[in-house]
């Protein structure tokens, strides 16, 4: 089956920042993204857990966006600027997709 090479950008970012990251992706005309919840984690700044009434501070959310290779840099630069002062991890990997037109 024919597949096409794209990039999967995975952003783990602290919850209060999510709205800004999504606004950034919208601005850059990324075709789409999906936000996944996380329940716990640990980083250099300590550990967190989502049970109970907790505010957004500390908690992390995962954003996945599959984009064309040609768009990657255009998205990473401003993401880096945004995330550098905040809590956030951005990783990119190669994926094969079956519908070219979608991205």
């Amino acid at each position: 089956m024919q597949t096409f090479l794209k990039k999967r950008i995975e952003i783990m970012v602290e919850a209060p920042l999510v709205a800004r990251v999504l606004a950034l992706l919208d601005e850059r005309n990324v075709t789409g993204y999906t936000v996944l919840p996380a329940i716990a984690g640990r980083g250099r700044g300590g550990s967190w857990h989502r049970d109970g009434l907790v505010g957004q501070a500390g908690a992390v959310v995962q954003i996945v966006s599959i984009v064309d290779e040609s768009r990657v840099d255009e998205v990473l630069e401003p993401l880096f600027a945004l995330v550098s002062r905040q809590i956030g991890i951005v990783s990119v990997c190669d994926v094969q997709v079956i519908r070219r037109d979608h991205f």
Binding site: P16, G46, D51, G52, L53, R85, I87
Partner: protein, 318 residues
């Protein structure tokens, strides 16, 4: 005094809080799903807002309402400045961290406020219904002052941040329910009393079980990240806040119950709205300092020692 303190400490409310705290410290896996905790928080906001509004509708608008709101705003804006000065001198915190901590103490903890209201009810002390509105008014100003302290003339919080804080979900529910309660009045209250009045105290108990677990987690984190000077601040700052609140309440002429609530508001520290706002507006400040301090030190202190103390002091003005 001792009677009041003991009866408060042995109320189901405080006992459930202590149960949660102990379970958390003993590393039990007891936890309440986030959705349930948020649902209960919404319920409590809706209930106290509505009851407060209906109370105002019944008793009429008091000239003191406006003064109380003003007092709340002024206190919420000035307590951070005092806290900041103390922190700068008495602790090793950086300018930015000190400002962030100060913001928490200027703002309020609605759960502590609820606990104080419940303790007043149990003790048979009355209070002004509009204190709920005062609580809502005190949520935000401290944040703006703290950002100004942190930046000291640097770039100001964008309108985005202010919008986010002011239209924060829990404030909307609290203020909105207050307005709906005011419009619906006694009849409205009666029609939904078996939802928002009767089970209220029980829900608060279950909610405090959860808050105990969270506070215990905060306490455990705090052991690692907080210096002694900072922990001490988390205990004496509420007393300073309460004293200021008491003076303001006497000037405005609040009832003993209202005085106790004003003291509690000034003594309590935010741990939900302010941390979220600061992550956006002041990301350089370390959550590992302000979260455990507010949640693991000041909140349990107020729940067990602070609230009965404020009640006792306020009840002397009868």
């Amino acid at each position: 005094m001792i009677d009041l303190a003991v009866s408060n400490l042995l109320s189901p409310m405080v006992l459930f809080f202590v149960l949660g705290l102990s379970a958390s410290l003993a590393r039990s896996d007891l936890s309440i799903p986030e959705a349930i905790a948020k649902g209960m928080a919404l319920y409590l906001m809706m209930a106290i807002g509505f009851k407060g509004g209906a109370g105002v509708a019944v008793h009429g608008i008091d000239s003191r309402l406006v003064y109380s709101l003003l007092a709340g705003l002024i206190l919420s804006a000035s307590i951070p400045i005092i806290a900041f000065c103390i922190l700068s001198r008495a602790t090793e915190l950086s300018r930015v961290d000190a400002a962030a901590v100060a913001a928490h103490y200027g703002s309020i903890s609605i759960v502590t406020f609820l606990a104080a209201m419940q303790a007043l009810d149990s003790a048979g002390l009355r209070y002004e219904s509009y204190m709920v509105a005062v609580a809502a008014a005190m949520e935000a100003p401290a944040i703006i002052v703290a950002l100004w302290l942190a930046r000291n003339g640097g770039k100001q919080p964008g309108p985005g941040t202010i919008h986010e804080v002011a239209l924060n979900g829990s404030i909307v529910v609290l203020v909105g329910s207050f307005a709906i309660g005011g419009i619906s009045g006694a009849d409205g209250l009666k029609s939904i009393a078996s939802f928002i009045v009767d089970p209220f105290k029980g829900v608060l108990c279950l909610f405090l079980l959860d808050m105990g677990v969270i506070a215990g987690r905060g306490l455990r984190d705090g052991r690692r990240t907080l210096s002694r000077a900072v922990v001490a601040f988390g205990i004496y700052m509420p007393l300073i806040g309460a004293a200021l609140g008491m003076v303001a309440a006497r000037i405005v002429g609040l009832s003993p119950g209202g005085t106790a609530l004003m003291m509690t508001l000034c003594a309590s520290a935010s741990y939900i709205a302010v941390p979220a706002a600061l992550r956006l507006a002041l990301p350089e400040a370390k959550p590992s300092i302000y979260l455990p301090l507010s949640l693991g030190v000041t909140f349990p202190f107020n729940m067990t020692i602070g609230v009965p103390l404020y009640l006792f002091v306020a009840s002397m003005f009868r």
